[in-house]
Amino acid sequence: MSSPTPRGTKLAKGATILEVEDLHVTFKGRVGLLAGLRGNKGTQSRAVDGVNLQVRKGEVLAIAGESGCGKTTTARAIMGLQPVDAGTIRYEGKPLPRNLKPYLRKVQMVFQDPTGTLNPRQTIYEIIAEGLRIHGIDRGPGGEPEEQLVAQALSRAGLRPPDRFFLRYPHELSGGQRQRVVIAGALVLEPEVIVADEPVSNLDASVRGEILQLLMKLRADLDLTIVIVTHDLGLAWTVADRVAVMYLGRIVEIGPAEDVLLRPLHPYTKALLDVVPEAGGLERPILTGEPPDPTKIPPGCRFHPRCPVVVSGKAAELGIEAACRGEDLGLDEINPGHLSACHASRRLGARAHEAIVEAVAAIGREAGSDPGTDADGSPDGTPPGSSAAT
C-alpha cells in the first residue's frame, strides 16, 4: 500500500472509497395505452428504496437478504448497469462522471453464473484480453505486453500455468475454473473494487471454499476492496468484515460482522439467522409468508407485518406498536459502527437484542402470519397476530 504502486492508490485503508447516497431504483410495470392516457402509472416496484452505504477501502462488505430485497439491483446500480431514479454514487468522493469508462476500470463486477458470463465462442485468452482492449490498454504499467498481462491475471486467479489455458474454451473448464476465469477477467484491469454478486452460489460445495479463499488472498495481496452480494449468512460470517442486511429495498441493519451476526439488533436479521440450517434447526422459529413484494411496501416500518416483536405483543408492551405500524424510520447508530432501522432498537438501544430474542421465543415455531394466506399479501398488511400467536 505504501510502496509506489503503478495503481496510484491514494486512499488510506478504511477511508470511504465508494459511497451510495439515498439510492432509489423503481421498475415500472406495463400499462395499456388507454390506462396510460387516463394517467394510470401501473404497478411500480420499488426495488431499491433509499439505500445509503459507505464502502471502506480494503474491506470485505457483504450485502445480504432474501431474493427481491434489492441487493443485486444495488450492486448493478453501483456498476452503472442500472438506471437509477434518484440518488448519488460517489467514487473517492466524486460523483460518477457521465463517461463511466475510467470508473469501470477501477470497479469490476463478478457475476453469479460463470457459464452464462463467459462467451462460449471465445478462448480464455480472448475473454481476458477483451477488457484490456476495450480500455485501450496495450501495455502494462511497466511496459509489459498484453500476453504477459493476461498470463499474470490468470495466475493470480489460480489458473496455473496460465499459458495452458490461453487457447481453451469455457466448456472445457470445470465450474470452479470458469469462475476463476471470470475473476481473472476482472483482475486484469487492476481494479480497486470488486463487486461480486453471489460469486459461489452456482458452484459445487467443495469448490466454494477455494473461490472464497482466492478472493481473500487477492484482497490481502492487491489491497482490493470487495463487495459480496449473497443470501448466505454463513458465507458472510466466513469472509466479511462488515455485513449489511437488506429488506424490501432498504438496509435495515449494518455493522461489523461479529456484531450483526452474533448480536443482531434488527428482528429481520435475527429471522434470517434462524433459518441458516444446522442440526435440530427446524424447531426454531421460521418466518412464514413469501419473500415480500416490492410493489406493495407496507406503511410504517416495512418489516412490521412479519415482525416477531410486533406479532408477539412485545412492541405493545414497549409502547412502540403504533410507531411500528405507522412511522417509517431510517438507520440509527446503536453501537459504534452498528446501525439498525428498528423502533425497538431506537427505544432500547443495544438491549433491543434481548427483546428480539424474547419476542421470537414467545412466538415459538411460527413467526409471522399463516402460510396459507401468504400470496394474498401477508407482507402488505394481513393483520399481524391474527393467526400467528397460535
Binding site: E66, S67, S174, G175, G176, Q177, D204, A205, S206, V207, R208, G209, E210, I211, L212, Q213, M216, H231, D232, L233, G234, W237, T238, V239, A257, E258, L261, L262, A271, L272, L273, D274, V275, V276, P277, E278, A279, G280, G281, L282, I286, L287, T288, E290, P291, R365, P371, G372, T373, D374, A375
Partner: protein
C-alpha cells in the same frame, strides 16, 4: 424390513464416447419411517440413483445389482406393474418445481390426475382428496383452481409435495427439493416435509449437496463421491465428526455462524470432482485429499467400520490402514 434396498448397484450411462460409470457399487437400506440423506457434488451419482429407483433413466442405461421396494424387485418388474408402483409405492419431488408442473393445467387437476390414473378414486372423490392434500401442505383449498404461474416458487414446491403424497406412497424421494428456493422459503418447505414425514411415518431419501440441510432433516447420512458411498452413519455424528476427509470438506462448505474456526478463513478442497470416465486409481479421492499418503494411490478403500453404526471408505479409519496394507501386498 427395509422399504428400499439397493444391493451392489452399478449404473452405466451409454454415450457416443463410450460407457460412463455413474454409480459403481452402492448399497443402501432405508427402513420404514426413516429418512436417509444422500449427499455429494454434481456428478457423484446421487440423482442417478434417484432415477434408478423408479427406472426413470434413459433406456440404454445399464443398471446392475438389485433394487427392491417393499420387497418387490424393481429391475425385473413388468412395465404395467412398474406404472402402478410409480407414485403408489414411491414418488419423487423433483428439483425444479418451476418446470415440473404443467403450465396450462390447474394445479388441482394435476394432483387429481395422479389419483384417478392410479384408480385410487373416482373424479369426485379425487377432488375432495385434492382439497385435503392442499391443506396438508399448508395451502388453502381454493388454490386448486390456480394455474402454476399464479403461485410462488415455495407454493409450487408445496403443490409438488401434495402430488407426491397423493397416492399414499411408502417412500418419497426428494431430489434437491429446495435448491431453487429462497432461504426463508427453503426453511418453510423443509419443515413441512419433515412434519409430514413424521406424521405419516413415511420413508424418505433426501438428496442434496448441502450437508447442513440434510443434518436438519435426515436420520442417517450417506456421502457419495465418484459413484460410491464413502461414508455413512447417523446424521448428526457424520456432520459433526466426519471420518472421511471428503465429508469434512463438504461439512466445512456450510460453516456455522459463530464458529471462530471459519471466521476469515474459508476452507476448500483443491481440484474438481473427477470425470467418471477417468476415475483415479486407488482411493478416487486421493488427488484432492489433504490427508493422502502413498498407499492411497494403490489401495481402493472399502467401507470400514468407523464407530457405532458408522462406516467410512478411508484408509485413515482406525484399523483399516494396516489391514489394507496387508491386502495390497
Amino acid at each position: 424390513m427395509s422399504v428400499l434396498s439397493l444391493k451392489d448397484v452399478h449404473i452405466t450411462y451409454h454415450t457416443a464416447a463410450g460407457g460412463v460409470p455413474a454409480v459403481r457399487g452402492v448399497d443402501i437400506e432405508v427402513a420404514k419411517g426413516e429418512v436417509l440423506g444422500l449427499a455429494g457434488e454434481s456428478g457423484c451419482g446421487k440423482s442417478t440413483i434417484a432415477g434408478a429407483i423408479l427406472r426413470l433413466l434413459p433406456s440404454k442405461t445399464k443398471v446392475e445389482g438389485s433394487i427392491t421396494l417393499d420387497g418387490e424387485d424393481i429391475l425385473s418388474m413388468k412395465l404395467g406393474r412398474l406404472r402402478a408402483v410409480r407414485w403408489t409405492g414411491a414418488s419423487i419431488v423433483f428439483q425444479g418445481a418451476m418446470h415440473a408442473l404443467n403450465p396450462v393445467q390447474r394445479v388441482g387437476d394435476q394432483i387429481g390426475e395422479a389419483i384417478t390414473v392410479h384408480n385410487q378414486a373416482g373424479e369426485r372423490e379425487a377432488k375432495v382428496r385434492v382439497g385435503s392434500l392442499l391443506e396438508q401442505v399448508g395451502l388453502p383449498t381454493r388454490r386448486a383452481a390456480d394455474y402454476p404461474h399464479e403461485l410462488s416458487g415455495g407454493q409450487k414446491q408445496r403443490v409438488m409435495i401434495a402430488m407426491a403424497l397423493a397416492c399414499n406412497p411408502s417412500l418419497i424421494i426428494a431430489d434437491e427439493p429446495t435448491t431453487a428456493l429462497d432461504v426463508m422459503v427453503q426453511a418453510q418447505v423443509l419443515r413441512l416435509m419433515k412434519d409430514l414425514q413424521r406424521d405419516l411415518g413415511l420413508s424418505m431419501v433426501f438428496i442434496t449437496h448441502d450437508l447442513s440441510v440434510l443434518v436438519e432433516t435426515s436420520d442417517r447420512l450417506a456421502i457419495m463421491y465418484a459413484g460410491k458411498i464413502v461414508e455413512e452413519g447417523p446424521a448428526t455424528a457424520v456432520f459433526e465428526d466426519p471420518k472421511h476427509p471428503y465429508t469434512a470438506a463438504l461439512a466445512a462448505a456450510f460453516p456455522q455462524i459463530g464458529d471462530l474456526r471459519f471466521r476469515g478463513n474459508p476452507t476448500g478442497l483443491g481440484g474438481d470432482p473427477p470425470d467418471p470416465q477417468e476415475i483415479p486409481s486407488g482411493c478416487p479421492f486421493h488427488p484432492r485429499c489433504p490427508a493422502a499418503f502413498a498407499d492411497c494411490q494403490r489401495t481402493v478403500p472399502e467401507l470400514y467400520t468407523a464407530g457405532a453404526g458408522r462406516r467410512a471408505a478411508c484408509l485413515l479409519v482406525e484399523g483399516a490402514h494396516t489391514g489394507a496394507a496387508e491386502v495390497a501386498e
